[in-house]
């Protein structure tokens, strides 16, 4: 790949610290050269072009940017891209396989768990972390696990139903 950028002179270039990082994103191994101040969410959205991870606030509240790093959900707007050196990132684009949607994705559609769709990827990534740990959550467990993700459209009731739908499907898949 060829990268072309404007020559701003040697002085300008030296002032900008760059680090090379290696990571895997949805199973694919990548290398990137980034400024330390680049946020992980910007690496994902702009550097990798994976725009399914959204940004909705500037105080780490809304959770629309939730992804998984080494299997744990994090708010990607509050992590520096350089911090994923040597780590595995999973985003919403990595939920489905080539042929099948993840039960969470199916559940959100079945139970009308989304309206504008903006909080949805973050919600699903947070819900996935819950189901990875607790395959049979109660409604209260779901609401607690999602209390770091804001939604303005749905009122959460159908989001809870969506997650419980997915949990049931995952349980029956692993039983069958």
């Amino acid at each position: 790949m060829t990268v072309v950028y404007e020559d701003l002179g040697d002085e300008a270039g030296e002032a900008v610290p760059i680090r090379r990082i290696r990571f895997s994103i949805n199973g694919k191994k990548m290398v990137a050269e980034v400024e330390p101040r680049l946020l992980l969410s910007h690496l994902i959205r702009r550097g990798l072009g994976l725009t399914g991870t959204h940004m909705g606030c500037d105080t780490t509240n809304c959770g629309a940017c939730t992804v998984q790093v080494d299997g744990r959900p994090v708010k990607s707007c509050t992590m520096l891209a350089v911090q994923v050196d040597g780590r595995e990132i999973t985003t919403v684009e990595g939920l489905a396989t080539a042929s099948e949607l993840h039960p969470l994705q199916e559940g959100f559609k079945e139970e009308h768990g989304l309206q504008c769709g903006f909080c949805t990827p973050g919600m699903m990534m947070a819900a996935k972390a819950l189901l990875d740990e607790n395959p049979d959550p109660t409604e209260e467990d779901v609401r607690w696990a999602l209390s770091g993700n804001l939604c303005r459209c749905t009122g959460y009731q159908n989001i809870v139903k969506s997650v419980l739908w997915a949990a049931a499907k995952l349980r029956s898949e692993s039983a069958g």
Binding site: R46, Q115, G117, M124, C153
Partner: protein, 796 residues
């Protein structure tokens, strides 16, 4: 034997069809404005004022220009040379694009930087030196009109003070007489606090001026692309046909994405100057501190009552705080929107409303936040006043409402403030709600609990509201009438595409408009694709807000489908070799009345339109309809909430929330319920935690999500929804009424009334929203009403 298709199976009216939109959103393949990248695109950041009111002595951007990667720095002075420092608002006022003489609210746009990436643009913003001279600050209407108050809009000629308008509706003399006859007068004063629609996605635009073609394309988070095109043509003085506004997927609107914001204008000018795409995406602070706020109206209301509970008349005085610029997006004839729709559900002989709007040093507006232009204020004031009146009379809350309701056989009903409500079964809705919440039982439990020192409360809110602005006789925005449109093209294989002038932001239009076509034409909904949002392809419409799309654009979809069906009937007659009078229709099929087995499907008619037309008929099966609604639609709702209040802390928990919504025919019940739950959540949020306030210096408290509180799944209660009562709209082609905002409009009063009810016996009549724990505790402890108006109390 009928061969009509099963309407539910093909996804027609009443089918809870799964949403078409979901397929891309669940995969993370939505196409929101910030997801879009154009070749050569630069990035814009805005520098905002830290002060609420100050003269600008100088702006020095030299250090910003020197930063590598910076392409352009815009200031008010530069905009002024192009006549772009000020722009018209949707309410016939002017608004600063970039400040020139003064800043008039904290967060106002002062300069902007366009650079290679937003990090550099932000660095450059920080390098701009602005020298401010602070001025005294005004944070509420009382201060606006006080003696010696500084004039905020000294930029305007003929603006000697801070009053924007006064407005009056109804019969003053008749209302005075009613009050003279009254056995009792019930009075209530309260403040509906400043709020913000705050969708999760912020506002933004990508302006792309192509010098080679002279065409300006703007991707924009807008709920009303055609209005924007017209506004841009006016403001940028570009020919309208060379402007293309594309509204891609929107991450929530709620009215926030209707106005024209300075950021859009700056990105457009920057693109023209730099001849490349310029992207501006605001951050949450910019969104909360500067874009369309909502509410912020004070009420002084009085109700004239007869001892038996009959309401004889209503008086309302409303003081509206519009911030620094009057930029309400609302029909031009009504200075404070449709606030005079208050009390439409009640049979009241006479009423009088006076409104005054003032300037303050706060963000400009306000917008219709999930409401039909101030109807949230109207219905909140109404149900709070009704609660107080019933209490003052010692009457049961439900029965007081019921005896004053407009009766089922009294429609169409003219309200004392000039509206014509269409249909309803108010008493039946109330019955359903009272039964669902177990009203009698609850009152018993409440009494028993009180004896043990536990405070349970029940709050009712009942209302009908005007949705679907609106008829051309009375409704326009900047003179443009508020019709809407739909274009339907049926292809030769019987598949179709619908485009409308609406622009959904999560309401599911791609799913529901197809259902209307399926209902009218029998084409399965999955064979119909829906597109909205591109002014080059969409027929002209006034956009989606104020719950107007089903009433107006949806009606247009039905009407254009009927035009198509009328032509298809002619094609059917031609194919079946009979005359049109012998043709009957059943879902999906025309047949010969005298020989029902002889028929043709709608798909066969479509093919014929391209391959086998009768002589003299224009080929093709495509048409457009523009719908000027004859009236507004009037859904009715009853919301009942029960709560328990902890007197030691002031914290209150919701026990039950029951919603009975009669919005006429429901196109997609699943989607309608989703809208109601969303609205109830915003109602809960406003009643419990969500507001913007200011300190005495005009510092905005509520400009980020640490201070502007949205409830999470943990706090938000569960909802019990009822759809038993269906009263079709008599004038809507498919009998539907609007619904998207009803719960946000009627809901807040139910929550507040419940808490006030829990406190009955303490003498507390009002606590301003949000009913934060400290306010509730203070009310209980000191037996006094609590006001929440700014400025925030401090120790001094």
């Amino acid at each position: 034997m009928t061969q009509a298709l099963d309407e539910i199976k093909i996804g027609g009216l009443g089918a809870s069809r799964k949403r078409v939109e979901d397929d891309r959103f669940i995969r993370g393949k939505g196409n929101y404005t910030d997801d879009i990248t154009l070749p050569g695109m630069l990035h814009m950041e805005i520098l905002r004022s830290p002060l609420a009111h100050a003269r600008i002595k100088s702006i020095d951007a030299s250090k910003a220009w020197d930063i590598p990667g910076v392409h352009l720095v815009l200031t008010g002075e530069m905009m002024a040379t192009r006549n772009l420092a000020w722009m018209p608002t949707l309410s016939y006022d002017t608004q600063a694009v970039l400040a020139t003489d003064k800043v008039r609210f904290q967060g106002q746009e002062v300069a902007c930087v366009i650079a290679d990436d937003p990090y550099i643009a932000k660095d450059a913003c920080e390098a701009i030196d602005v020298d401010y001279e602070p001025l005294p600050v005004i944070v509420n209407p009382k201060q606006s009109v006080a003696d010696g108050a500084p004039v905020i809009r000294d930029d305007k000629e003929n603006q000697p003070d801070n009053v924007i308008y006064t407005w009056e509706v109804g019969d003053a003399a008749g209302t005075d007489r009613a009050f003279e006859q009254a056995d009792k007068v019930s009075r209530l004063q309260l403040h509906y606090p400043r709020s913000h629609p705050s969708p999760i996605e912020c506002c933004g635009s990508i302006a792309d001026f192509n010098r080679a073609t002279s065409k300006l394309t703007v991707y924009m988070t807008t709920q009303a692309p055609h209005i924007i095109r017209a506004a841009v043509a006016l403001v940028a003085e570009l020919p309208e046909h060379m402007i293309r506004i594309i509204s891609p997927d929107i991450g929530g609107g709620f009215g926030n994405k209707v106005p024209v914001y300075p950021g859009y204008v700056c990105s457009i000018l920057a693109s023209i100057l730099l001849e490349c795409p310029v992207k501006w995406i605001e951050d949450k602070t910019g969104n909360l501190i500067s874009t369309g706020f909502a509410r912020d109206v004070y009420l002084d209301g009085e109700m004239a009552l007869r001892n038996d509970g009959k309401i004889l008349g209503v008086r309302m005085r409303c003081d509206a705080d519009h911030g620094a610029f009057f930029s309400d997006a609302q029909p031009s004839k009504f200075k404070l929107g449709l606030i005079h729709s208050a009390f439409a559900a009640y049979d009241i002989p006479v009423a009088h409303l006076m409104a005054r709007g003032t300037y303050t040093n706060k963000a400009p507006g306000g917008v219709a936040y999930r409401c039909s232009f101030r109807v949230t204020e109207a219905m909140f004031f109404q149900e709070r006043m009704v609660q107080a009146a019933a209490d003052d009379l010692g009457m049961d809350q439900a029965e007081f409402r019921r005896m004053n309701f407009v009766r089922d056989d009294d429609f169409p009903h003219r309200t004392p403030l000039g509206f014509l409500t269409d249909s309803g079964q108010y008493g039946k809705c109330l019955d359903v709600a009272l039964e669902a919440v177990g009203y009698e039982n609850f009152r018993k439990q409440q009494q028993e609990a009180r004896a043990k020192g536990r405070l349970l409360g029940l709050g009712i809110s009942t209302m009908t509201e005007p949705l679907g602005a609106g008829n051309s006789r009375e409704y326009d925005i900047l003179g443009i009438k508020m019709f809407d449109s739909a274009e339907l093209k049926v292809h030769m294989t019987g598949k179709a595409i619908v485009r409308t002038g609406a622009r959904g932001q999560g309401q599911g239009h791609e799913t529901t408009w197809a259902q209307i076509v399926a209902h009218e034409l029998g084409i399965p909904a999955e064979d119909i694709v829906v597109e909205e949002g591109d002014t080059d392809t969409a027929p002209f419409g006034m956009g989606t807000y104020a719950s107007r799309s089903t009433p107006v654009a949806g009606a247009a979809v039905a009407m254009v489908s009927r035009k198509i069906r009328a032509k298809a009937r002619k094609l059917a007659a031609h194919l079946l070799e009979v005359s049109e009078e012998d043709i009957e229709w059943e879902l999906g099929r025309f047949y010969v009345r005298s020989a029902p087995d002889r028929g043709v499907t709608i798909q066969e008619c479509a093919m014929a339109a391209y391959s086998n037309m009768p002589d003299g008929m224009e080929p093709g099966l495509e048409n457009t309809a523009y719908y000027d609604p004859p009236n507004l639609t009037w859904p009715f709702a009853v919301y009942i909430v029960t709560v328990e209040v902890d007197p030691a802390t002031g914290v209150w928990d919701v026990l039950t929330t029951v919603a009975v919504d009669d919005c006429g025919v429901r196109i997609n019940p699943m989607i309608v319920e989703g809208q109601i739950m969303g609205g109830l959540t915003e109602a809960y949020a406003m009643a419990n935690m969500q507001f913007i306030t200011f300190d005495a210096e005009g510092n905005c408290i509520g400009s980020n999500y640490m201070d502007y509180l949205l409830p999470t799944a943990w706090e938000t209660p569960g909802f019990e929804l009822h759809s038993e009562v269906v009263t079709p709209c008599p004038h809507h082609p498919i009998g539907a009424k609007g619904i998207g905002e009803c719960a946000a409009v009627g809901g807040p009063a139910a929550f507040v009334n419940a808490v006030i009810d829990a406190l009955s016996g303490t003498g507390v009549r009002n606590i301003d929203m949000p009913l934060l724990p400290d306010r509730v505790w203070e009310a209980i402890t000191y037996h006094r009403d609590i006001s929440g108006a700014p400025p925030v109390r401090t120790d001094d």
